[in-house]
Subunit: 362 residues, 2 copies
């Protein structure tokens, strides 16, 4: 079979264990998933628009996401033609690679960071240059030093996943001076709604530096992960290129109308963010009490440095009905990542974690 | 900007005009879309499962489409691991190219046929060999003759789009003898539910010839185009490869549960097919009366040979609120494609078409 032999070297992305899967494996009445940085509630307000849209479900969606595009453009005061929609912001990543990468081109990523950059870049035949994090953060100075004539894209997860740290405006401005204009900067801002005030004003940066894509999503703060919709804000020219390489009907109808409703219900995200911040404080306080280290997070998840292998902890948690994220795929075997949940979920997580620590100390 | 310069040569796919778009352009109360081979009704039975699934909408979908996979495997009596799901069957096409095509590999297509094969193959850097149709049908003998050592994939739309013709079991068996084992055969069977009895038993062929993908969809006979879900049936090895190159959450939750419901409501597709056949006869009869030629269709659409440019006809129809498909993008400027609709829609189409013919004859 004549498939591309490079694929043999590629390790697939391993998602957080779905609730449904754990339910199939263990007989548990309550399962708390704190593994995939989903918010712990649904935006109930989409129910009406979803039901209304069912009457059009036999029809292909609008390829351009016309109404959503219009609403989003007004929301950010940008040109509608500078937006690209994706089947989740994951797809914005692959579209950028598909439009920009020829074999052996170089892509720079931080390591460890969001795994999809490396996986998809390698699938598209790129040479991936990894720059280690320092003190749980992107080391932009070292990234800039790795730029060569072959560098096509630099992926910057800001805030970062799985560390939860972020790059502020000042550091970003400094970095921008060092990046040649012909290098595409890809800012993955999946968690930007959770980030603090000194977070870079990337849309404003885009007015000065066109060769850039800002990827955002309705999957996190908006609570629409199950529908698959994300977007890229970029220059008109790059939007055109990404639209050229995507499939014509990549965003389903339900996602389009729900994302519109989400933009109309701005209070929801505000409430989500303040809820998450409060619960994050609760988790911080308890993790401090347990004496474990974590970098401060600008997101809705926390990376915990357990200082020893977390495989057994992960399994123990599953037995308790709690799904956390084990990070061996990131080379972080001594860490785990936990998503901020409801108070009930967070309390149960802390209690189980505490019990586990006691058990292994005995 | 260092994007892939090959993209400059690529013409994007132009979808049929959406109802919403025509509504924005013209003040019309009734719009009939007969442009994208959608069936003219909705599967109302999905309402319950969709509403139930909304409570999980903040959670990512299962990457494996576990329950749907299980149901589909039982439906076709195949191994669940031999199925790949896509964001529409369009995505199965791009996944195959992504897994198999290195630059300058050859891909064979018939011309004109479904445009996405050529567009996406060229985006992935393939050299596309086009074999002209003969008498509105695939000429399999000539396709076989174009196979070289560089041939990676042969795309066969069966039934074909935009002609509506099909290849029967006998002709397919004959063709299979001529295709080397290391060439991937891609059978695009988006319309197979509408095809007659002597249609090739492709799942049975797959048991003998592993290097094959059968792409099918819930967008046509099942009436779920707005949700985006299709699938490929293939060998376990190829399913693994396609799963490796896809994004982890490519099929949304609403599509997964609705497709499951669709498989449980088998009567729906039966009713759709018999409805379409009846209405197709109505259209045939009237097209005969008007003296225009069309090849007999094994699908829910008809290709009409108008013998003169159809641009003005297309515009006239839009003014009447009827969207047909003009085919200049296929090099078929003298043809149009019309989807079989309800009796009201078909009658209105025939009436408007007849009026147009009278007008230009004056």
């Amino acid at each position: 079979m004549q498939y591309r032999k490079e694929l043999d070297k590629i390790n697939s992305y391993k998602p957080g264990k779905p609730i449904e899967e754990l339910r199939r494996q263990k007989k548990l009445t309550k399962i708390y998933k704190l593994a995939s940085n989903e918010i712990p509630f649904q935006p109930a307000f989409i129910k009406n628009v979803v039901n209304k849209e069912l009457k059009n479900i036999n029809r292909y969606p609008e390829s351009t996401c016309f109404y959503l595009r219009d609403k989003l453009a007004k929301n950010f005061k940008i040109n509608p033609d500078s937006i690209v929609f994706g089947n989740g912001s994951d797809e914005i990543i692959t579209l950028a690679l598909k439009a920009f990468i020829d074999k052996k081109d170089e892509v720079i990523i931080a390591y460890p960071s969001f795994l999809v950059y490396q996986i998809q870049a390698e699938i598209f035949g790129a040479k991936v240059i990894k720059v280690p994090l320092e003190n749980y953060s992107y080391c932009l100075g070292k990234i800039a030093k790795k730029i060569t004539k072959k560098t096509k894209i630099i992926f910057i997860a800001n805030p970062d996943n799985p560390t939860g740290t972020y790059i502020n405006q000042e550091k970003m401005d400094d970095f921008l001076k060092k990046v040649p204009k012909d290098v595409l900067l890809f800012f993955d801002e999946a968690y930007f709604e959770f980030a603090p005030e000194d977070f870079p004003k990337s849309i404003e940066i885009l007015t000065r530096r066109k060769n850039m894509i800002i990827a955002r999503t309705f999957s996190k703060a908006y609570g629409l992960a199950g529908l698959r919709i994300g977007y890229g804000i970029t220059s008109k020219k790059i939007a055109q290129l990404l639209n050229k390489v995507r499939e014509p009907f990549n965003v389903n109808r339900i996602a389009q109308v729900s994302a519109q409703a989400a933009l109309e219900n701005k209070d929801f995200v505000k409430k989500v963010v303040s809820f998450i911040n409060k619960e994050k404080s609760y988790l911080y306080k308890n993790l401090d009490r347990l004496g474990v280290f974590y970098p401060k997070s600008a997101t809705n998840f926390i990376l915990v440095d357990f200082k020893k292998d977390t495989k057994k902890l992960y399994e123990y948690m599953l037995d308790q009905g709690i799904i956390i994220r084990e990070l061996s795929g990131w080379g972080l075997g001594n860490f785990f990542r936990v998503t901020v949940g409801t108070r009930t979920q967070n309390r149960k997580f802390i209690k189980s974690f505490e019990n586990y620590i006691r058990r292994i100390r005995k």
